[in-house]
């Protein structure tokens, strides 16, 4: 068991355990902090897969942006004065059975399938090739995404604003 494997198992365990807590805990604030750990674990997995740029992006956008946004959502929808941050769960039993079955089937398929396996040599930094691709081949998609974000901003503002 070399170092690479060890680090992988560490991050995989971190991701799965914290994700499990995210979906089972009753306290919404705990859920949010566990989600942070999950994102961190996923970022680690990205690094193991040679996607350093994406790992950084993951940390910046998910942890710095989306998670904060969700905490804001929690605060705005639970009156600060009488904190009701405990939430309940419903149909736990049918959902457990369904999801358990689903996961089992999925993992069985994954293990049974013969995947194409020719690992690529990933350069030390992926920043330069990704930047080039974004500006050349995928430039149109890139611009489109910018427009999409703008529309999302406007849409979110117009939905959330007071009448």
């Amino acid at each position: 068991m070399n170092l690479y494997d060890f680090i992988f198992y560490f991050f995989a365990a971190l991701t799965i355990v914290s994700a499990f807590f995210v979906v089972t805990t009753k306290n919404i604030i705990y859920a949010a902090f566990n989600l942070l750990l999950t994102f961190f674990g996923v970022a680690g997995i990205y690094v193991l897969l040679g996607a350093d740029f994406l790992a950084i992006v993951q940390l910046i956008i998910y942890v710095g942006g989306i998670l904060i946004l969700m905490l804001f959502g929690v605060m705005l929808t639970n009156k600060i004065t009488n904190v009701q941050i405990k939430t309940e769960a419903s149909f736990v039993i049918p959902a457990s059975i369904g999801v358990g079955l689903f996961a089992g089937v999925l993992i069985a398929i994954l293990l049974k399938t013969e995947w194409r396996n020719s690992p690529a040599d990933i350069p030390i930094s992926t920043l330069v090739p990704i930047g080039k691709l974004l500006m050349e081949e995928w430039a149109f998609v890139f611009i489109l995404l910018g427009v999409l974000l703008l529309i999302a901003l406007i849409g979110a503002a117009s939905i959330a604003r007071k009448e």
Binding site: F91, G98, V99, L101, F102, V105, I109
Partner: protein, 693 residues
């Protein structure tokens, strides 16, 4: 210039007028000055076509530039047709390049003329839009390299002509004339369509060059030369309609209801010349018999309208009949194998006849829309520029030396003389010379009655004034172009001019040699592209030239002299001649009763037929329909009973059953998305198990 540049310029010339039309018609209501856009566009088109003409005729005379693409290819669609390809494209050869210049020049001049002539018209912008549409369709006819586009733009030209003739549609006479023109054209186009059908079933292509190639290889419709002749004659029917040849000429004089610049553009210079252009384009596929038919039609169309023009009193009607007569001349020239002179006359005629119409427009404008020449006279002093240009045009059309008309007309007459002596069809020669005399007579009659003598209508005369520069400058340009110097250095013959020597060669006929005129089969073994007539023919034409010149000069001089004697010096009273030849005079004045004849035959027959059909409809069809209705009613009663008992019972039962199912299923519809997701997951698992089996 490279081929690519030519194609690009030609496409610009082709589609710019369409742009002008669209912009002008769409924005015409909003911007009152939008017509200037159309005028600018047409000016650009003129410049571009001059550029094309300059480079093509100056540097690449012998090239044919074709640019095409495959529009429909049924072979690649996997159909059983072995060869079914329709190509669209344009061709730039000397004929089309020269025609391009003629069309755009006359069109531009007419645009400028119209700015002054149509001033104050409520539908000013729409008028210019229609002119743009017309120019676009005419460019299509000129540039096309296949029969299909030719037919499409043929119809488009008909539409724009219809719109422009009926431009003042408040006048009943104008809208009637538009309909008449459209219908008369339709008759000719029907023939053309039939010809195209024969052509396409035989050759499976519309591309003109490919058709020629296959004919040269000996592929004939239904394997007979006779059907080749029929096909040629049917295609020529289109030209009969559009070029107003006998017996479909009746629409052209009525078309004079349209604005006068339109008459100059469409009904004198360009659209009516499209028929002649068609014949020149497809000249190689006509057999000798078809050409003889064409020559006879042309000769009749030259003679009969010329006799009608002698007695008409409407300035535009005289010009209209003279147009038919001159078009007949061109058609006749092509029919007797005098290809070059037919085409040459088309060009020279386009300039001086457009000029005549524009000058007439200037006169009408000055006289406040008075068109009867009996009410004019003495306008020479009031309209000096119009008078001078009109005189030049009259000399040109009468074939007086030093004018362009002399060059082209003389060639035709020499050709007719040679044709007569070679084949024995002397009647055509006689007709040619007679028409030359008649033309000189009626043109000078028109000139004298309009511009000389004493004014008949004192009031209108006093108010007459020379037209603005926008109207006189086009006249001057056209008058200058009516001189010989633009076509040949030698004022007596066009044979040494560059037009004949370099630009236009008679294309070799592709029909089997046995089906051609005997004189169009080369005698020598040398099959040079330039030698397509037999040496005898070339020699005969050359010999016929001098006698033809002398004879035609004598005859037209005689015609002019008679005109002056009767109308200027008044030595012989016109009324006296009319009285002594009363039946002939009335016959001519009433246009040989063509309209009445068609009224009594075709139209009466159509009315009769429609009455019979109406009766058939009312009695028999309605009876059948009513009978069917009562049967249906009885049947529906029976089926109604069946409906209420059996069908309704079934329907009610199924409704009850669905209600039952609904009660059960409603329990599952909680309205909560999460429940649905759980169900979805279960379904996916089940599906995976099902498919992994």
């Amino acid at each position: 210039m490279s081929e690519y540049n030519y194609t690009l310029l030609a496409l610009l010339v082709f589609f710019l007028p369409l742009l002008g039309f669209l912009v002008t018609i769409l924005l015409g209501k909003k911007f009152s000055k939008i017509y200037l856009f159309e005028v600018a566009i047409i000016t650009i088109v003129l410049i571009l076509s001059i550029v094309i003409g300059f480079f093509k005729l100056g540097f690449q005379v012998d090239e044919r530039i074709i640019s095409q693409f495959t529009w429909i290819d049924l072979k690649s669609a996997g159909t059983p047709y072995t060869s079914f390809i329709i190509e669209l494209g344009i061709v730039l050869d000397n004929i089309s390049v020269i025609m391009l210049f003629v069309v755009s020049l006359v069109s531009t001049l007419v645009h400028y003329f119209s700015i002054a002539y149509m001033k104050g018209d409520p539908r000013f912008n729409r008028y210019f839009a229609y002119l743009g549409l017309f120019t676009f369709s005419m460019m299509g006819i000129v540039l096309t390299h296949n029969f299909l586009m030719m037919y499409i733009f043929w119809e488009l030209v008909g539409v724009s002509s219809y719109l422009l003739i009926g431009f003042w549609y408040e006048k009943d006479s104008a809208s009637d004339a538009a309909k008449k023109a459209f219908l008369a054209n339709r008759v000719g186009d029907l023939g053309m369509l039939a010809g195209l059908l024969i052509l396409f079933t035989t050759y499976h292509t519309f591309t003109i060059d490919n058709v020629f190639g296959q004919i040269a290889l000996g592929v004939l419709p239904f394997n007979s030369e006779f059907w080749l002749t029929i096909m040629g004659v049917l295609l020529f029917c289109g030209a009969i309609g559009k070029s107003a040849q006998l017996p479909l000429h009746v629409w052209l004089p009525d078309a004079m209801e349209g604005p006068t610049p339109v008459s100059a553009l469409i009904h004198a210079a360009t659209m009516v010349a499209a028929g002649v252009y068609l014949v020149t384009r497809i000249f190689p596929l006509f057999t000798g018999d078809a050409l003889l038919f064409i020559a006879v039609v042309g000769a009749l169309s030259a003679l009969i309208p010329a006799t009608i023009a002698l007695t008409q009193n409407d300035i535009k009607k005289v010009l209209a009949y003279s147009t038919i007569s001159q078009l007949g001349y061109m058609i006749m020239a092509l029919g007797i194998g005098s290809y070059f002179y037919g085409y040459f006359h088309l060009i020279t005629h386009a300039f001086f006849k457009a000029g005549l119409f524009l000058a007439a427009g200037s006169v009408i404008h000055a006289m406040h829309h008075e068109q009867d020449i009996q009410n004019m006279g003495g306008l020479r002093k009031k309209l000096p520029i119009t008078y001078a240009t009109f005189l030049v045009f009259c000399l040109a059309i009468s074939g007086v030396p030093l004018t362009s008309g002399f060059l082209s007309k003389d060639g035709i007459l020499a050709g007719a003389l040679a044709f007569g002596s070679l084949t024995g069809h002397y009647l055509i020669t006689v007709v040619g010379f007679t028409v030359a005399m008649l033309t000189a007579f009626y043109m000078f009659r028109l000139l004298i009655l309009t511009f000389h003598g004493k004014p008949k209508d004192k009031h209108a005369y006093d108010h007459a004034h020379e037209s603005p520069a926008l109207m006189t400058v086009p006249l001057i340009i056209l008058a200058v172009l009516s001189f010989f110097a633009f076509y040949s250095f030698n004022p007596t013959t066009a044979e040494k001019g560059w037009v004949f020597e370099k630009w236009i060669q008679t294309p070799e006929s592709v029909v089997p040699e046995s089906a051609r005129y005997s004189f169009m089969v080369p005698e020598s073994e040398i099959r040079d592209r330039k030698i397509i007539h037999s040496e005898t023919y070339t020699k005969t034409v050359h010999d016929a030239h001098i006698p033809a010149v002398i004879l035609s000069l004598l005859l037209s001089g005689f015609g002019i002299l008679v005109a002056f004697t009767i109308y200027y010096w008044k030595k012989i009273s016109a009324d006296k001649i009319a009285n002594s030849l009363k039946p002939l005079y009335k016959f001519s004045l009433n246009k040989w009763y063509f309209d009445e004849l068609y009224d009594k035959t075709f139209i009466a027959f159509t009315m009769f037929l429609s009455k019979i059909l109406n009766w058939f409809d009312a009695k028999i069809i309605d009876g059948v329909v009513n009978g069917a209705a009562s049967v249906t009613r009885g049947f529906s009663k029976i089926s109604g009973g069946f409906d209420t008992i059996v069908i309704d019972g079934f329907v009610n039962f199924s409704a009850f059953f669905s209600g039952l199912v609904g009660i059960v299923l409603r329990k599952m519809q909680t309205g909560k998305v999460q429940v649905y997701i759980v169900l979805l997951i279960f379904s996916i698992v089940i599906l995976i198990f099902y498919f992994s089996r």
